[in-house]
């Protein structure tokens, strides 16, 4: 244990910690963006609401989510410490402006970009995670076709006695036809309502721009910190960093607030 701390107190150890936590957060982004794609489904939010139940109740996911919170905190604290040490390594700066050609803008501003992302994360967790966990997200009831599983119209709100749990049951509709009822908390509506606010949509877009720049440098940089670099696959890592983590994922995330902003039910 002692030697592990000693390792993390070396310049390379600190960078290895940044790389490992950063890559773990990258894998989380893949899961998060894929799951949230269900927001685009044309089912009045049923799939997304059921997915939210699964993500907050399935034990292995719960364990991983606590690991995730810990990782975010570690990555942020470690990044802050690195930035402070790096500043101390040059107490008196240069008079002439540094030539911009020698390094990319993102690589020189990882601390600032990370801070923007952290502020975004706090807002994001307060908007949805906190509301879902501790706030008042009402239950709704979906009516589904028994055979096709198709959602038959918008869900209806339910009054919660305080003991309600997500569940499914069989019933019959007004015409006496059998239907399936699904009762879940309507996080989808919370998302939809939140993104009617212009300032919040703008904030989310800014957050995603910061994320894009952070990952364009961060993804490939983490492999370099781990010593994983060879001409045969360097361009592949670079390509994934730019196209998947720098463009595709932030773009898909950004599409979500934009979609709800312009949907205006």
């Amino acid at each position: 244990m002692n030697s592990a701390f000693k390792f993390l107190d070396t310049s390379i150890g600190r960078k290895v910690l940044m790389a490992l936590t950063g890559l773990f957060l990258c894998t989380f982004l893949i899961v998060h963006v894929s799951g949230n794609m269900q927001l685009f489904k044309n089912d009045y939010g049923l799939a997304f609401n059921q997915y939210s139940v699964f993500m907050t109740t399935f034990t292995p996911i719960k364990v991983v989510s606590y690991l995730l919170y810990l990782t975010i905190i570690l990555h942020a604290i470690s990044g802050f410490r690195l930035t402070m040490q790096n500043r101390a390594a040059r107490k008196i700066g240069y008079g002439a402006a540094k030539d911009p050609r020698s390094s990319s803008w993102a690589s020189k501003n990882m601390g600032i970009l990370g801070t923007i992302i952290l502020l975004f994360l706090v807002t994001h967790m307060a908007n949805f995670w906190f509301k879902y966990k501790f706030g008042d997200v009402p239950y709704v009831q979906y009516m589904l076709d028994v055979n096709s599983g198709e959602v038959l119209g918008a869900p209806v709100g339910l009054t919660d006695s305080g003991h309600m749990k997500p569940h499914e049951l069989m019933a019959s509709d007004a015409n006496g036809q059998p239907v399936k009822l699904v009762i879940v908390r309507d996080l989808y509506n919370v998302v939809k309502m939140a993104f009617q606010e212009t300032w919040l949509v703008v904030l989310y877009l800014l957050g995603m721009i910061a994320l894009a720049y952070h990952l364009v440098h961060g993804f490939q940089s983490s492999f370099q910190s781990l010593g994983i670099r060879h001409p045969s696959y360097a361009s592949l890592i670079q390509g994934i960093g730019v196209w998947v983590f720098g463009i595709l994922i932030p773009l898909l995330f950004a599409a979500m607030p934009v979609y709800f902003y312009f949907m205006k039910s």
Partner: protein, 251 residues
């Protein structure tokens, strides 16, 4: 002579390590474009001496780009605007007449300014002393073919060994990190069989000394590679990270 240049120099002047420094402006008149940057500085200094003023102190030695002594930060770039060139091999034709040139010392807490443009780079020597050598007793001179080395490794080791320890990597890095220098020294031995004996201790001790000297951490901006006069590659840094992890985890 026609075609000669007139330049304005903004030079960092500082009397001693603890004195307060400041930029001073000088006119460099009638400078031949064929002069090297250091020859131009010599001309300016001669004028200063004639005027009874203190000449500008700067480091230099071989003036042919191999000793690693010259160390000027010119217009926001270590060793000036050219790629793969030390200050002494930079010529005035790379500038245009009428230009203002800003000349500063390397800036790093681990490289304190001693006077004007001269910095103390003994931190690099202490890192080198921590493990940048092979202490195997080799006896008499062995046959050249006694230790086979692949051409690839020999070339790679040679490219790493081209590092002259000038400190441009530290000067160019936004974090004043010495990773490129240390990784070149680690790589040069890690690639050769002679270096294998002390492989583990070398990387651990050199990195430990680097950290003690107060250099910053690596953010992989790769400014060091862009500014290195010997074009040392950042793949050396990846190799040093590997060597370090190997030494820490698998031994």
């Amino acid at each position: 002579m026609s075609g000669n240049m007139n330049l304005t120099l903004k030079v960092w002047r500082q009397k001693s390590q603890n004195a307060q420094g400041a930029f001073e402006t000088y006119e460099a008149k009638n400078i031949s474009p064929d002069m090297s940057f250091l020859e131009m500085m010599d001309v300016v200094n001669e004028d200063l001496i004639k005027a009874g003023k203190e000449p500008i102190a700067f480091d230099h030695d071989c003036r042919e780009g191999i000793c690693g002594m010259c160390s000027m930060y010119i217009n926001g770039r270590a060793h000036g605007p050219l790629k793969g060139v030390t200050t002494c091999q930079l010529h005035m034709r790379s500038f245009s007449s009428g230009e203002t040139i800003t000349i500063e010392p390397w800036r790093a807490t681990a490289f304190p300014v001693l006077r004007d443009l001269v910095v103390d780079r003994t931190a690099f020597e202490r890192i080198q002393q921590a493990g940048g050598y092979v202490s195997v007793n080799t006896g008499s001179v062995p046959d050249a073919n006694a230790i086979p080395i692949s051409k690839e490794n020999a070339d790679e080791a040679f490219l790493s060994a081209a590092c002259i320890g000038c400190g441009a990597c530290v000067a160019a890095c936004k974090n004043s990190s010495a990773m490129l220098f240390v990784s070149a020294k680690v790589s040069q031995y890690a690639l050769l069989p002679q270096g294998n004996v002390e492989r583990k201790e070398r990387v651990l001790n050199m990195v430990s000394q680097m950290d003690q000297e107060g250099f910053g951490n690596c953010t992989n901006t790769e400014a060091c590679e862009a500014e290195c006069p010997k074009e040392i590659k950042v793949t050396n840094i990846a190799r040093m990270n590997r060597e370090f992890l190997r030494a820490k985890l698998f031994s």
